[in-house]
Subunit: 287 residues, 2 copies
């Protein structure tokens, strides 16, 4: 039987040619995803990044899956209209319930934060006992256990919601007694499950990393490792852009454009806290 | 000059005749307003109540005033379509920024929670030094100081945002070290201002009342009074319905219908916590 040439039916040739000089699109329900932007900017300093924070509808964490999918589609389409070469879903809740829909709908690479986080967790865990903290939405979706099991069927996952950590991070209560006691309460079931890795399954949690790391060491032991999905996602994004020939080549440092759907009252302070550096200019868009 | 009869130009005769057997409409950004419903049901046990929680867009507390006004109009119109005789805005953030717009737009009595709370605070304060805790939106609107000053120009108001109290109430962490330490931190500026009344300026806070009361007594003194806007609002609503001849007269206990714009994952548990009694049936509507 004759070999058929790769015609226009082939997925590879149908794939739109993407311009490596286009920016990366990153979105989150609010400003938490800026911790992912920070890691991307560190790993890929030449890339331009357009960040969209859906601050008018934050937080997604407690919403129904159907609502999260609808909101995520709105965010993704708005970024595609801006012209991007790849999309990073810098939100664990959206990555948990809407990634497949976005991948089916969009003709460009789409990366979530859960799969990279799960892979990094398995790599870091000697005993394959992995603890995850996240929002109610992320945890009740079961996305982390599922993602871990696709990497290692022998791994055991203890995943628990920690709803108070987002408001603590937003309030800037990053150390001291209140965050310490809240973190300890949320780590209790993970300590009981004898995990040796704690995954920060929410983009806000890196702000509380020092407290989480300190308490986890005290409650679980000095061997415990804290894994940050944001860092793992930036590494996988760099590899993906390289593999597909999509790395920006122009000289000079990249830029970060900030879009929001509502200007929160504490916006400047929050961007400084999440992204580092001074408060930034921002464009408000309607979805 | 001859006396002109009250013609159709008179505001009083132009006012639509409202049916006392219609239900009361109550809305909030989420489920916190159920603490107000609870007080209304206690004060007016014969009234039917339709409650709308805009759970798809909760929380309003950190959103811009323009967005809050737009959301509030959507909620109010949805309740008016259901057929109501009066509207209670059971949300401090909306009462702070959108009450005038709603009153101008709607042809029925509209009651917020801030004015009743401010009147109750002045009545309870011997030294006319009043402390208020609320969301960022409520506090930065300046609505409580303004409302207090319309009651007493001699009163001094110390109003401070306490963003962590809403997630604490929703998480059900109502006593113990974490809420105790968070409450103490938020009460510090009120204690320094030597207030003798603390207003619970958010519908979630009545759940933390015991902790707030206990810590306020310890930090400020046994004379301090905690004023709950929800309770004050229910009392003023009862007086308003009586004055306008709008009290329901039919026999038997009233009912509470719950509408939400998204079904939050922890809905049943939350209604039980806020409203008391068992979890309730609910209707999901689109605004």
């Amino acid at each position: 039987m004759p070999q058929v040439d790769d015609g226009p039916e082939s997925g590879e040739t149908l794939r739109r040619k993407l311009d490596p000089e286009l920016p990366l699109g990153v979105f989150d329900s609010g400003l938490g995803g800026l911790t992912v932007v920070r890691e991307i900017a560190a790993a890929l300093p030449r890339e331009r990044i357009i960040y969209l924070g859906d601050t008018a509808r934050v937080p997604y964490g407690a919403r129904s899956p159907a609502t999260v999918v609808r909101y995520a589609q709105g965010c993704a389409r708005a970024l595609v209209r801006e012209g991007i070469k790849a999309l990073v879903v810098a939100c664990n809740t959206v990555s948990a319930v809407a990634l497949d829909v976005l991948r089916a709908e969009l003709d460009l690479p789409v990366l979530g934060v859960i799969e990279p986080g799960a892979r990094a967790a398995v790599a870091a865990s000697a005993r394959l006992r992995i603890g995850v903290l996240g929002t109610v939405g992320t945890i009740s979706s079961g996305a982390y256990p599922r993602a871990v099991l696709t990497v290692s069927t022998r791994a055991e996952v203890s995943a628990h919601a920690a709803p108070l950590l987002v408001p603590l991070a937003e309030e800037g209560w990053l150390d001291g007694e209140v965050p310490r006691l809240a973190v300890r309460r949320y780590l209790e079931p993970l300590a009981a499950a004898e995990v040796d890795v704690v995954v920060l399954g929410c983009t806000h949690y890196p702000l509380l990393r020092a407290t989480i790391e300190h308490e986890a060491r005290e409650m679980i032991g000095a061997h415990v490792r804290v894994v940050d999905s944001a860092h793992a996602t930036a590494s996988e994004l760099a590899a993906l852009l390289h593999d597909r020939g999509l790395l920006a080549t122009r000289e000079g440092p990249g830029e970060i454009d900030l879009l929001v759907t509502d200007r929160p009252r504490s916006f400047g302070e929050m961007t400084a806290r999440f992204l580092g550096g001074p408060a930034r200019e921002v464009r408000v868009i309607d979805l």
